[in-house]
Symmetry: C2
Subunit: 189 residues, 2 copies
């Protein structure tokens, strides 16, 4: 495996004064990895759910956080820092209106005698998951990623890794959650 | 197990002309079940994710659909009707604003030079999962629930089953999805 070392400067522009050295892998087998050397973890879509969220305009998405077994166990036990091997996945989908759902919502709301204005508000603010936007991963390796709190970060769009420009702010944005090992998401019951 | 048979009339008020006979269980061991005789399936919180969604005002929730192994396999294989033993869980949480997330979003947006109005819009429409509202289940048993498309329905609030008033519209609302075995949710990639 041939690796090119890339120094990331200005990672801490937003929330601190961190710098890090990450690696850009140029693998001879053509599998592209993130600048932290992270590939898409096999089977991540089958992982258990940590929580759900949504981000507003202009993203307008619906998102799910999934965790591998090490992550889920740590969330439930409250183990912090997360053990090495923890991987947290953030899946995101475009928010889309489901005409099919809305017909049912409308009928039910009319049946209940809801005012028209209230019904329109309900229909305009109800969403299902549309096309996926991108997938992000946080991978814990306290030695490999020592300069970024023990976490490696990756984002994949259409299965392809996004590069340095996207990833250089990951750690600085997560820095305010330092007391919770840089993880914002909390386990939903 | 002592059972009281309750006839549900008017189930099809919204979307069809269905009637059904469901059962209200009064178990001697005190475990309350839904009028379809459904208990909370053990371990449902660990099931794999089917998709995510949100429902607008006045509910303002974030929701996840999880499925047991039979459900997940059927979703992926496109098996319809769903096999007996399929269980689909719908978890819902109050949408809440995370001040902690929003501080990070604001800093990042200001860093990008986003207009103030756009930043406020982003912050006002970004949510994380707050307190759970209720959990619903659809359970497939083509014989037991023959009169409701093979599906039994249940809703639990704070671990306690909601009764006839809540459940009597479940099947009629799902009727428009008859071509997909009465299931609206589609598997998110």
């Amino acid at each position: 495996m041939k690796r090119i070392t890339v120094a990331l400067v200005g990672v801490g522009a937003l929330a601190g004064a961190f710098t890090t050295t990450a690696r850009l892998s140029a693998r001879p087998d053509g599998v592209a990895t993130s600048i932290f050397g992270i590939e898409i973890p096999p089977g991540y879509r089958d992982w258990q759910m940590i929580s759900v969220a949504s981000v507003g305009a202009p993203l307008n998405d619906l998102r799910a956080k999934l965790g591998n077994d090490i992550a889920i166990m740590a969330f439930r036990d409250g183990t912090r820092p997360f053990p090495d091997g923890t991987i947290i996945a953030r899946l995101a989908y475009n928010q889309v209106i489901s005409e099919e759902n809305n017909r049912v919502f409308r009928a039910a709301a009319e049946q209940r005698g809801s005012p028209a204005e209230q019904i329109e508000k309900l229909l305009a603010s109800s969403f299902v998951a549309g096309a996926p936007t991108n997938v992000q991963f946080m991978t814990k390796d306290s030695e490999k990623y020592a300069s970024t709190g023990g976490w490696g970060f990756a984002q994949f769009t259409n299965g392809k890794p996004d590069g340095e420009v996207v990833l250089k702010t990951c750690f600085s944005c997560h820095a305010p959650a330092r007391d919770r090992d840089f993880v914002f998401t909390q386990y939903a019951p």
